[in-house]
Amino acid sequence: MNAGDTTWIMVCAVLVFIMTPGVALFYGGLARRKNVLSILMQCFVIMCLITLQWVLVGYSLAFGPDTGYGIIGGLGWAGLRGVGMEAHEYAETIPHFVFMIFQLQFAIITAAIMVGAFAERMKFSAFLVFILLWSTFVYDPIAHWVWGDGGWLGEMGALDFAGGIVVHVSSGVSALLVAIMIGRRVGLDMTAFAPHSLPFTVLGGALLWFGWFGFNAGSALAADGIAANAFVTTMISTAAAGITWMFIEWKHHGVPTVLGIVTGAIAGLVAVTPACGLVTPMASIPVGAIASTLCYFAINMLKPRLGYDDSLDVFGLHGMAGIWGTIAVGLFAVEALAGTNGLFYGGAKLLLIQLVYMSVCIAYALAATWIIFKIVDTVIGIRVSKEDEIVGLDLTQHREGAYTTLE
């Protein structure tokens, strides 16, 4: 055990922790004034709910001893049985508790990312059940497959340094499906919905970037050179993506917007997530720049053309950039970091594995989400009434107003 590494991973857990309030502000600022609290509430309840789920069963399902075939962890570690202050082989220089709590933050943020897609129209009770089922039956298995001891995709050689598929693509594609199934928001055909507070969105974006250093560099599970590499590539990819978005938008819409550059930055963060500890700093420039280009296209062309209402562009950002980042690992990985080379360094196999990895996870996430949605919709009813949607979720679901307006 090493106090330096232990400190690093505890700090990184704290950094990833603050990403969920970050995403809450990011989304909350983009929502209409009458729905901001519903967003904050959904993110906050995820922090509580998934924590309990994780220590009771989730961690065991995802990281517990494999039950065979690499499909799922058993319930051996349920209620944190056997998880303690000593190190475990997942990370040999830090207490097992620290590894467990660091991983918990990933489960939380993954669920929170989805909130943006079905924002402003989901019933709170249905949301609670949906998210609990999703985390248990989508996140936990996928995490096990690639990160869990004996997980079949990990064994196959799939690489996902900090969770491009596990976190971003799984949530991104699931969120898209939910957005399509729940339908478009009332009134959207009449007018665009402007963000009610862009300063909150920018602050949220900044907190995301801030916390993402813990997310990516912490995934090295030690304060070493790999962590340093992940830190550096994270910074660079984000910067490249932000600048790229800005110039594309400037060209396309005539002005660079702050929402644009922040959106681009997040695209860069997402894309570099699976790659950060596997590619060189210079490779992270195209990783980020291409991420922004793809996401810009998805949000500005694909979405309007297809007509789905992914309210705050969860798929357009996390789905698209996560897919690209996963492919990018297959292109840019270098042996010194990844243990194997990507296509551009002469290794074709990795790219293939990455494509299989991606396809399997997307297919599974979509199928499982579809089932969960149907169950919740049948049993509880997933969408609020049209009247409630018009008044806003804050007043109708929570009987609170975000801001006083008379005084």
């Binding site: 009449m190 007018t191 018009i390 007043l395 109708t396 009987r399 609170e400």
Partner: protein, 112 residues
Amino acid sequence: MKYIVAIIQPHKLEEVKQALEDVEVHLITVSNVHGRGRQKGFTEVYRGSKEVGLLKKIKVETAVNDDFVDTAVGAIEKSCHTGKPGDGKIFILDLAECIRIGTGERGPAAIG
């Protein structure tokens, strides 16, 4: 000349704007107001305490020449009518004078 003041449901603003435009009433002034009417409010919950707030409404004001009053009122009525409490009210005041600052025009010429 009349000064029309309409208190409407916030989510109807886009439709009212469109409806007024359709009858050639282009110039309007819009603001946030809070109303107590027949529609009941929401009991808000803050830890132990509860309170019933006023409802958020939008006020649309438009000064029109006399021959536009009926069409303007009709446009607002049509776009806001649902029959449920809270649809809103229209108040019509006599307008003694209207001045366009940019040109110095006065009276009916300054309205539109």
